[in-house]
C-alpha cells in the first residue's frame, strides 16, 4: 500500500502477467492447428477467459479493488451471461432452422 491508500502493483507482477499472456497466445495458436473436434473451440475459449481474468485481476487491479467495485465487475459478466445464456437456450431448443440456402423460394417452402 502506498501512503494514499491505493495498492501499487509492482512491475514484476506486470511482467509476469505479460509473459503469461504471451504464452497463452502462443498456446492458443498452436492448439488451433491440431484437430480436437468440438474441443478446439472449448480450449480456445478457456484460454481466452484465463487471459481475460489475468488482465482484469492484475492489469486492471480487480484483485485489489474495493468490494463495491468488484461487485460491479462481476455484475457485468452476470448480465452478459443472462444475454448469452437465455438467447442461446432459445436457439438451442427451437426446431432446426431450415433456411440454410440463399434461395428465397427455399425459405418459403420451409415456412409451411
Amino acid at each position: 500500500m502506498s501512503e494514499n491508500g491505493h495498492h501499487v502493483v509492482s512491475p514484476k507482477i506486470y511482467a509476469t502477467i505479460l509473459a503469461a499472456l504471451l504464452l497463452g497466445t502462443y498456446i492458443t495458436v498452436q492448439a488451433a492447428k491440431i484437430d480436437l473436434g468440438p474441443w478446439n473451440i472449448v480450449l480456445a475459449l478457456t484460454i481466452a477467459v484465463t487471459k481475460m481474468t489475468l488482465v482484469i485481476l492484475f492489469f486492471m487491479h480487480g484483485k485489489y479493488s474495493p468490494r463495491r467495485t468488484q461487485l460491479v465487475i462481476i455484475s457485468g459478466f452476470f448480465w452478459l451471461a443472462i444475454m448469452l445464456g437465455l438467447t442461446l437456450m432459445d436457439y438451442g431448443t427451437r426446431h432446426p432452422e431450415p433456411s440454410r440456402s440463399a434461395n428465397p423460394s427455399a425459405i418459403l417452402t420451409h415456412r409451411v
Binding site: P11, L22, T69, F77, L88, S105
Partner: protein
C-alpha cells in the same frame, strides 16, 4: 473535469473521490461488455448456423498478421499498466515514456489492421456487389497464393460449394450448382460483415483510446500526475485494457476456430 486532484465538496476524502471515479469507469465498461456481447452473440448464432462458410471464410484471414497484432496489443496493455505504476510512484518522466510506448503500439496495431483490410478489399472479400469467395481460388497470383496455400484454398472453397450444392439437391432446388454457389457467397458475406463490424468497432475503440492517450501524454508532460493524483491515467488505463480483452476474444473466434482443417 477536475484536473488537479483537489477534493470536491461531495466527497469526504481524496481516496473516496478516486474510488468513485474508478467505480464510474467500471460501470461504463459493463455497458461496453454488453455492447460487444451482443455482437459476439450474433456471431455465435450465425457461426453455428453456417459452419462451413464461416469456417472457410475465417481461414481466409491472415493468421501471421492476427497473431502479430495480438502480441502488439498485449504488449501495449503492459506498457499501459507501467504508465499507471509510474504515475502511482510519481515517476513523472517515466509516465510520458510508457504512455508514448502504448500509443506507438496502438498505432502499430491499427496499421496492421489497415493492411489486413486492404488485402480483404483486394481479394474481393468486402461484403457488397464485388464480393466473391472464389476470387483467390480463381486468381491465385492476384492474392499471392501458391503451393500448399493455394491447394488449401481450392480444397476448402470447393468443399464448401459441394456441401451447399448437395444441400440444394437434397432440397430439390431447380439449379443446385448455382444455388449452392450463391449460398456459399451469401453465408461467407455474413461472416465478413461480422468480421468488419466487430473488428471495425474494436478499431474505433482503439482510435478513441489513441486520442485519450494523446491527452494523457500532453498532461503528463506538464507533470500533472503523481502518487496523489493519477485518476485519468488509471481510468483511461482501464479502458485500454478493456479494449485488449475484446481482442483477446476476437482473435480466437475470428481467426482460429477452423485452422485445424487446413
Amino acid at each position: 473535469m477536475h484536473r488537479t486532484g483537489e477534493l470536491y465538496g461531495q466527497f469526504k476524502t481524496l481516496d473516496q473521490q478516486k474510488e468513485t471515479a474508478t467505480l464510474g469507469m467500471w460501470i461504463f465498461l459493463v455497458t461496453e461488455i454488453l455492447f460487444f456481447g451482443g455482437l459476439f452473440l450474433t456471431y455465435t448464432i450465425n457461426r453455428h448456423q453456417f459452419p462451413t462458410a464461416f469456417g472457410i471464410a475465417g481461414n481466409m484471414l491472415s493468421l501471421p498478421l492476427g497473431f502479430a497484432n495480438t502480441i502488439v496489443l498485449i504488449a501495449s496493455s503492459f506498457t499501459m499498466a507501467m504508465s499507471v505504476w509510474s504515475a502511482q510512484t510519481s515517476r513523472k518522466k517515466a509516465i510520458v515514456v510508457w504512455l508514448i510506448a502504448t500509443l506507438v503500439l496502438g498505432g502499430v496495431f491499427l496499421g496492421v489492421k489497415v493492411k489486413e483490410y486492404k488485402d480483404k478489399f483486394d481479394h474481393h472479400l468486402v461484403p457488397g456487389y464485388h464480393f466473391d469467395i472464389t476470387y483467390c481460388r480463381n486468381n491465385p497470383s492476384a492474392c499471392g497464393l501458391s503451393g500448399k496455400a493455394l491447394d488449401d484454398e481450392k480444397k476448402e472453397v470447393d468443399e464448401a460449394i459441394k456441401v451447399e450444392k448437395e444441400y440444394a439437391q437434397q432440397q430439390g432446388f431447380a439449379d443446385p450448382a448455382t444455388t449452392g454457389m450463391a449460398a456459399v457467397n451469401a453465408h461467407a458475406q455474413l461472416y465478413f460483415s461480422l468480421y468488419f463490424g466487430m473488428t471495425g468497432l474494436h478499431a474505433l475503440h482503439m482510435i478513441v483510446g489513441a486520442g485519450l492517450l494523446l491527452y494523457l501524454i500532453l498532461e503528463a508532460r506538464k507533470g500533472r500526475f503523481d502518487a496523489n493524483y493519477n485518476t485519468p491515467v488509471e481510468n483511461i488505463g482501464l479502458y485500454w485494457h478493456f479494449v485488449d480483452i475484446v481482442w483477446i476474444f476476437l482473435f480466437p473466434l475470428l481467426y482460429l476456430i477452423n485452422r485445424h482443417l487446413v
